[in-house]
C-alpha cells in the first residue's frame, strides 16, 4: 500500500512537474522572441538590428 501510494504520487508529481516545466519553457521562449507555438522549433533567427 505504501509502495503503491508512493508510486502513484510520484507519477502524478512527474506529470504535473513536466507540464509546468513545459509551459514555463514556452513562456520563456516567447519572451525571448522565439516561437511559443509548441511546434518544437529551436530556431532563434531574427533580423539583425
Amino acid at each position: 500500500m505504501i509502495f503503491e501510494t508512493f508510486l502513484i504520487y510520484g507519477i502524478i508529481g512527474v506529470a504535473a512537474g513536466w507540464l509546468g516545466f513545459r509551459w514555463a519553457s514556452a513562456w520563456r521562449r516567447r519572451k525571448e522572441g522565439g516561437c511559443a507555438g509548441g511546434c518544437g522549433c529551436a530556431s532563434k533567427i531574427q533580423p539583425k538590428k
Partner: protein
Amino acid sequence: MSAAEPGLTVALVGNPNTGKSTLFNALTGLRQRVGNYPGVTVARKSGQCDCGDGLKVELIDLPGLYSLSAASPDEQVVIDALSGHLADDRRPDAVVVVIDATNLLRNLFLASQLSELGLPVVLVLNQADVAAEQGVKIDAGLLSRRLGGVPVVLTSAWKGEGIAAVRRAIAEALRLRIRMPAVEWPALVEEALADVSAGVASDLGQTPSRADVERLLFDSTTSVGQRLGWEAARRDAVIRAARDKVRRAGYNPLAAEPLIHYERLRKLLEGVVQGGGNRTGASAAVDQVLLHRIFGPIVFTGIMLGMFASVFWLAKFPMQWLSSGADWLKAVVAPHLDGMPMLQSLVTDGMIGGVGAFLAFLPQILILFLFVGILEDSGYMARAAFIMDRLFSWCGLNGKSFVPMLSGFACAIPGLLSTRTIEDPKARLATAFAVPFMSCSARFPIYALMCSAFILPKYGAGWESVVMVGMHCVGLLFAVPTAFVLTRFVLKVKPQPFVLELPRYQMPKPRDVLWRMWQNAAEFVSKAGTVIFAITIIVWALTYFPRDPAVAQRVRAQSADAPAEVVSARIQAAYIEQSWMGRFGKSVQPIFDPCGFDWKITVGVLASFPAREVIVSTLGVTYSVGEGAKADSAHLRDKMLEAEWTEGPRRGTPIFSLAAVLALMVFFALCSQCGPTVATLAQETGGWKWAVISFVYMTALAWIMAVVVYQVVLRLV
C-alpha cells in the same frame, strides 16, 4: 571544391507555385528539418542534399516570392536570408532559382533581380514536361550561354526527372562560382544608383551592396534604410534627387526596375523559347465550372461534404482496431495489478482509457490530412480561396486573409504565422483575430465523438456529415461578421486588391501528400504521448482522490437490499462526486447549466482550456473511473448515452440530449481553448491586448451561442 569542405548552404528560391517544395523534397529526400523563423517568416525548411562525389550541402527552402521588392514580412525574410542579414544564418553559398518552364519570362524577373546579389546561380526550369505538352520548346543550352554559363537544368520534379542534373549543377555552380550577369542599366539610371551609393558611403562611412542600393532607389516601402541606420531626412533627400535622374532617363522611378529587367529578358529569350500558343488549355476549361459564380460554391460544398463522409467511412474500421487494441491492452495489464486497485485504476482508467480515447481519432485525422493534401497539391485549394474571397470579400477582410484562414482549418498557429504575408498591418490584425475561429483539427475529436455517439445512431450517416460540415462552418459564420465590425468600425481597414495566382491542376504526388500526412500524424501521436498523457494523469488524480473509505461504508449501509453490482456502481458514483474534480465541477457547473452541461462535461470543458483535445480523454476518465478493464470506447459511448440528470427539473432525462450535444459542439467550435494559440496571437500582434480581447470575446460568444442552441433545440425537439 573539396568534398570535405564543411557548412555549405544553398538557398532554393522561386515564385509561388513553381514546384519548389516538390523539388526540395526530391533533392533532400526525407532528411528535412522544419522550424520557424520566429518573428520573421512562416517556416524555415532545410535538408541535406547530396550533390555527388561526397559533396553534401544544406539546402534551405525559402518562401515563394515574385520579386525582391518586399511587401510583406515573409518576402522580407527571403531578401534578408539571401543577403546575409539574418542573425545566426549566414549568406548562402549559392542560389537555386526554380522557374516555371511554362512561364519563363515572368519567372526570370526574380532571377534577373537576384543577379545583383553576386551569388553563384543555378536556374531550374521546372515543369518542363508540362511546357512540352503545351508545345513550348526551350533551348536550355542557348539560355545558359547567354547567361554567361550559368547552369540551366530542365526538370520535372513531380516525375523525378532531371533531379540528378540539378545535383550536378549545384556542385558545378559551387565549384566554378558562376554568377548570372547583372542587368545593364541606362546611363542616367546607373548614375542615380551611384548617387545613392555615394550618399550612403558619405553619411554612414560604409559602401552598401549593389542589391541594397537598388532597393533604396526603386522601392518606396523598403526597410533597407532603417537596417543601415540611414537618417530618414537625409536619406529622403538623396533618394529624391536620384529618382529625378531616373525620371530624366524617361522612366517612372518606381516602375523603372521591372521595365528595364523585362526589356533585357525579352531579348535574352529570343530564340530560347519557341511555340506555346495553348498555355491555359484544360485548366481553364475546368475552371469554367469550378470557379463559376453559382456552380463553384456548389461544387465546393459538395467536395467538403464528400470529404467528411469519406473520412468517417474510411476511418470506421481502423478506429475499431485501435479501440480493440486499447481494450486488449487493458485486459492484459489489469490482472497484473489486481493487488493494487489504485494503480490499476490509474493505468487502465487514466492512462490507457484517456490516451486511448484520444488516439482512437488518429485514423480520422490521417484521412482528413490526406484529403487536404490532395486538394492542396491538385491546385484546388487556391480555387477554394478564390471562391471564399468572392463570397466574403464584403466583410472587409483582405483577399490574402483566406490563405491563413484555410491554414487555420488544420491548426490556428501556422494560420496566425502566415498572416505575415499580408502587407497592411490592420488587415493582418483583423485576419489574426479571425483565424482562431476556424475549426482546427483539435476540434475534430469532440465533433467525431458526439456525432458517432449521438447523431449517427439516431439520424444516420447523412446527417452525421451535415453536422460535421456545419460545425466546420460555424466558426467561419462568426468570423466573417466579427471581421466586418473589426475592419469597418474599429480598425478602419482600407480595401486592398487580392491577387492570387491559380496554379495549374495536376495529379498530386503520393510521396509528398503521404509525407505531410505522416508529419501531422507524428505531431498528433507525440501530443497524445506527452501533453495529453500528462493531463490525463492529472485529471485521473483529481477524479480519483480523496478516496475516503467512509463513503463506501455509507453507500453500503444505504443500499443494504440492492444487488452487489448496483451497490458497486453507487459507490463509484459517490466517489467521483466527492472527488476534487467532482466538487470543483459541481461548484462551477451553474455557469454552464444554461448550456445543458452537467458537472462532468463542465470538468471536461474547464480541463480543455489549455488544449481543447483534452475533452475526449477527460470524458474518457470521468466516465470510466472505477470501471477498470471494462471501460472500452464503446463502453464510454454507452455510459454517456445512459447518463441522466439526477436532480432538478431535468431529473431522469438524458444529459446528452440532441440539444446538449449540439450546444457542446458549438461551444467547442467557438471557444478560445488553446494556450499556444493565445500566446501566438499575443506574439503576432505585438502584445497581450488583442490576445486577451480575442480570448474573452470568443469564450463569451461560445457560452452565449451554446445557451442559445441548447435552449432553442430543447424547445423544438
